[in-house]
Amino acid sequence: MLQILPSVLTSDMIHGMLLFGKISLFFGLFITPIAGFSVYIERRLSAKMQSRIGCHRLGPEGILQLVADGIKMLCKEDLYPRGSDVVLFKFAPYLVMIGAFTSFACIPFGDHVVMANIDVGIVYLLGLSSLVVVGIMLAGWSSNNKWSLLGSLRSAAQIISYEIPLGLTLLVPVIITGSMNLQAINHFQSGGVSKWLVFYAGPFTIIAFVIYFISALAEVNRTPFDLPEAESELVSGFHTEYSGMRWGLFFVGEYANMFLVSCIAVTLFLGGYQRSMVNIAFVGLTCFFIIFLLLQIFLFLPTYVSELWKGQSLLDVLMKTPPQKRSNAFKVMCLGGAFVLASLMYRYHLDYHWIQVFVFVSKAYFLVLVMMWLRWSLPRYRMDQLMDLCWKKCIPISFVCICGTLIWMVVQ
């Protein structure tokens, strides 16, 4: 096989290209759809909290809306404001995406399902999250717009400040496990829920987890810390002047970042991909949603096919078929079936990699849902109150957590 290739290519280069292909597939088929799906889930979840329905028209339960939005963004005119620094303007979204996406390289999704098992994984993560700040500042500066500039400066100040409690609370698992390698931290937490690091040192690790979560919210610019993109003051803050796919990149980058910090939280505090009863319950719930959605599509298919057979166009069929209301009995049966499946997997020790990945993603996604829940219930902090919260409250408490964990470890 290698003989037919030109002599310029070496096996190293092929190896590199295969790796590049694997990584692109990972990002394209895994992370980006999760980010896109998060958008859809956010719209439905916020609608549920506000007594309305949300997007439910296009496709079964509205799931094809993200495809439509993606196509729309690609078709838009590529605008950049007059007087803006075009090179920086075009480069800024890429920096944000790079910062978010490359951090996924070191996160273990399963026993051997990790792209790069870096020994200092935590340092790598902290370093790359700072790249996001540079991207945001470039976006705000190059927009030639005072409001964007304000938004990006606010965001920079916020992210840089909250990296300190983030790093400090990330130290707590490092202290307990004695290693910065994320796989090692995962292996430390095997053997049931009581072995999760969040329950290791009594109240100190629980508080550390909460402080980590708050700092993560601030890192991602989510409410209650979304002053940089405060809709009621700055229109959209640093991404006001972006339109079309460039804005889409910021958007996807933000949701990927949300997923990233949830993944880190799960890895370090909530047991990673380790299989246990509680985790399998999460899997069951996720299975329920997937089964429900698949059944909707499956039960829709006869209607779709018959409509297409009659000669309607695909777009019409997708948009005009009314949503089917499924009865409560149907939903309960799906839920029951999902849980039966999940408990069978636990009973028969199905430890294949995919179940670990599933456990991990469902736990991380639960944290993403909590972030969305917070966004739609809480008002936002003002800039000085945000800073006050960070420097006067989060940092001292994280120091206390570290010392408390150390003392706990010595005493036990």
Binding site: Q50, R52, L150, A230, S232, E233, W376, P379, Y381, R382
Partner: protein
């Protein structure tokens, strides 16, 4: 007491300040308002409101159309609570021609006013948390306002600009089963009011954003001409419905909620918010009483087809959701008015804004604007 005419400090500070334009199109300016802001980083040193984007020369139009024909224009003066504007103008013209309004019409007018007050306050307390960041209460408030819109549609056929009042009475009588619908609405409305307390008024973040912000004293408010809930939040219990009762308000029993400074300073944004929530509850009680005491009778008094009054002026005002909304009408013997002057509460509140919003953050400016419940059509007419 003399008030100093102020020279703004910016002219002394030179060009160290950043000039920002919170333009006429902005997600949080209530209507089409523009502010030119001079900031020192995030601290605001000077705000200059620029109004007039919604100026439709309604006062000039009043000189072209007849007295009765001007009534639909009064809806547009304050389209968020249009019934009160109708009511004020109708009262002014009735004073001119000395026309008496039958009792049932008075009660219907009060009913319409109170429903409108609730609707307007719903928008005020819905958009206020939205400007602060919590989007969900806005949707809940609008859900309740939708029910009021449906009631109004049953009553007079329109959902926003009602043209319900006529010179001498009201235009339409209560439809069938209106009272059951109103009671059903009130039942869910009390639930909504009770939900507001844990959602917003006990929420730490909301309190941090809102307390001690934009406070002014009662004397300042009176001097600047502030009326309505903004004035009552400073602790001064003046309400036209109690102090200068019109339209049978003296037969009803209600309290005037007044700001008490329980969280933060007296007269700050929290008090304005709180006063509006309490006023909604009082309006709900009023509606129940009105429906219980509604007398029978005509809904329209005797008013001439063409109103010709020579050399007379009249001023009448009602307590609208934003305070005293008054119409000053000058008649000169023609079927149309010679001069109509409209006095609204938002105009005075807007003029006070540069004084309140000094040395606050940009995010606070948005909160202050929203707490004053400014609607642009009232300011610009």
């Amino acid at each position: 007491m003399q008030y100093e005419t102020q020279m703004y400090e910016t002219q002394q500070m030179g060009d160290q300040l950043m000039e920002l334009n919170m333009g006429p199109q902005h997600p949080s300016t209530h209507g089409v308002l523009r502010f030119v802001i001079h900031t020192d980083g995030e601290l605001i040193k000077r705000v200059e409101p620029d109004v007039g984007y919604l100026h439709r020369s309604i006062e000039k139009i009043g000189e072209q159309v007849t007295f009765q024909g001007f009534l639909p224009y009064t809806d547009r003066v304050d389209y968020v609570s249009a019934m009160t504007a109708n009511h004020a103008y109708a009262r002014a013209v009735e004073k001119l021609i000395d026309c008496s309004v039958p009792k049932r019409a008075q009660y219907l007018r009060m009913l319409a006013d109170e429903l409108c007050r609730i609707a307007s306050h719903l928008i005020a307390i819905g958009t206020y948390p939205m400007d602060i960041g919590a989007v969900t209460p806005f949707v809940h408030a609008l859900r309740e306002r939708e029910k009021i819109n449906d009631l109004m549609e049953a009553l007079c056929g329109a959902r926003l600009t009602y043209h319900y009042m006529r010179i001498g009475g009201v235009g339409f009588d209560l439809p069938k089963a209106f009272e059951t619908q109103v009671h059903a609405f009130l039942k869910s409305f009390y639930v909504f009011l009770d939900e507001l307390r844990p959602m917003l008024q006990d929420n730490t973040i909301f309190l941090k954003r809102v307390c001690h912000l934009g406070a002014f004293s009662k004397e300042d408010a009176i001097a600047y001409g502030i009326v309505g809930p903004n004035l009552r939040a400073t602790g001064f219990d003046h309400d036209l419905r109690k102090n200068a009762p019109y339209a049978c308000y003296e037969e009803l029993d209600f309290k005037i909620p007044v700001g008490m400074g329980e969280q933060g300073t007296l007269g700050d944004c929290y008090d304005r918010f709180d006063v509006r929530v309490k006023e909604m509850r009082q309006s709900a009680y009023l509606i129940e009483q009105i429906l219980g005491q509604m007398p029978e009778g005509d809904i329209l008094g005797k008013a001439p087809k063409t109103i010709r009054v020579k050399d007379k002026w009249a001023y009448a005002s009602v307590e609208s959701a934003r305070g005293e909304l008054g119409f000053f009408v000058v008649a000169n013997g023609q079927p149309n008015a010679y001069r109509i002057k409209i006095r609204s509460g938002s105009f005075a509140a807007m003029s006070m804004l540069p004084v309140i919003a000094k040395d606050v953050f940009l995010a606070d400016l948005v909160a202050i604007i929203a707490s004053l419940d400014l609607v642009a059509p009232e300011i610009d007419r």
